[in-house]
Amino acid sequence: MDSIALHPIEASTLAPQVDLLFYALLAFSFGLGIFLTVLVLGYAIKYRRGSKADRSGERSRNTILEVSWTTATALMALGIFLWGAELFLQRDHPPPDSLHISGIGKQWMWIFEHENGRREIDELHVPLGQPVVVSLSSEDVIHSMFVPAFRMKMDAVPGRQTQLWFQATRAGTYDLFCAEYCGTQHSEMRGHVVVMEPQDFAKWLASGPTVESLVQQGQALFRGLGCSGCHGPSATVHAPKLEGVYGHPVGLATSQTVNADDGYIRDSILQPKKQVVGGFDPIMPSYQGLITEDDLGKLVAYIKSLGNSGGTP
């Protein structure tokens, strides 16, 4: 036994805020709980049969009392709700300068892939002090990425992309759990998050086994899967060009407009007939089941790079 867990380490910007709420709730709960316990025991003892306590006076109904404690409870509840919700809403707003990492849950391991293509399994290295967005997806069942030290958790849902973000505030190694029951070795689906000084992290990131960057791998897939046959510069098929698409609005055949974000590109690969670009026929086949989550991430990264640079491959 190493030590006894009493209080989880606070290692993210969110952790102290969540803990403040926790301890405030704890104080409130114990206050109210002990008050009620004392009241129950107090009444039980004071008014035990045969005691000398004064029992005169009307009771058994008191509307003012009922209304006032109902109101008090409602107000307390509202206060806690607002506090919890306010903190929660941060979830949707990662800072713009965040580092992006993609995470894939798979029975029973976590695969993380950095922007330069460095991959790691059951370990996640992140720099200290920089916000990190982890885009989560799953290859099979629902998993949930849980880092207690960051007070952060999010489900990885197959067929969808979810995300969580955090900003580490303390260097060290922290537990990473899968929190959603995912089959036989659910409890072995554990790993570590390693928070490093930014310069160490940069060194670590560069020192990895030489892997092609995500974008390059994506480009290879783009050719290998035959995407370039239609979407490439020399294609004869009438298909939309992908340069400069990412991050820009796209007009659909239904005369709606969507923003070409990660989700849209992903959907367009898996369910191409869902949101067809205006002026094109829905002729693209679906790649559902033909492409792994892993490869999908690379393709999306490549198409993103086309959008950012505006150049041609």
Binding site: L252, T254, Q256, Q271, K273, K274, Q275, V276, S286, Q288
Partner: protein, 207 residues
């Protein structure tokens, strides 16, 4: 829920208990179908999906015919319930047989449709999954998933209803209050009809 019921009359007994029981049961059934149709709704409303497009594959003619068959059976069972009291119980029994017969016709037509769709590889039977037309968009499969579940559940209810009708006809003389029982069964039959009234446009008419 209790508002306005404070002044309960001082009467007790089984009067109208059965009817309330049936209504509570139908509420329960309504939520069963409500939940299944919610699944359909979520899939259909998913943005940009051509889910409803698969409706074209269904036979509008047979669907319309079946709707009429079921509405006719509702008329028959309503008449049966009307004749149940008094001396025209034999009319009621005939009407019940007609009702059950129409129910069986409905199931035969439905069965033919399923058979036909299975032949075309449209129904999601696992052994036949390689016969799905590969070109058909994924949402079309989803549509047929929902179609099979909804019509299948409805069909099972209809089987129960037919059983009730035939059982009532056969055991009419042995029942303590056959007219009352028939009225309860009629409520159930109408309910099955109402479910179909909603399933028909949801499945057949969204082409």
């Amino acid at each position: 829920m209790s508002l306005g019921l404070e002044q309960q009359p001082l009467e007790t007994g089984l009067k109208a208990s059965g009817e309330l029981g049936v209504f509570v049961f139908l509420v329960s059934e309504g939520l069963l179908f409500g939940a299944l149709i919610l699944g359909y709704t979520v899939l259909r409303l998913s943005p940009g999906s051509d889910f409803a497009g698969a409706s074209k594959e269904l036979s509008l003619l047979l669907g319309t015919l079946n709707t009429c068959v079921l509405l006719t059976s509702s008329l028959a069972v309503a008449l049966a319930a009307m004749w149940a009291d008094g001396e025209r119980a034999n009319y009621a029994r005939i009407a019940m047989v007609v009702t059950a017969g129409l129910g069986i016709i409905f199931l035969c037509i439905k069965g033919y449709e399923w058979f036909d769709e299975a032949q075309k590889g449209l129904l999601p039977f696992r052994d036949m999954s390689d016969r799905y037309p590969k070109a058909s968009p994924q949402e079309h499969r989803e549509f047929f998933d929902a179609y099979l579940v909804l019509t299948g559940t409805h069909g099972l209810h209809l089987v129960t209803g037919i059983g009730l009708m035939l059982g009532l006809t056969v055991f009419w003389k042995r029942l303590v209050r056959p007219a009352h029982t028939l009225k309860m069964a009629a409520l159930y039959w109408h309910f099955i009809d109402v479910i179909w009234v909603f399933l028909f446009p949801l499945l057949y008419l969204v082409r």
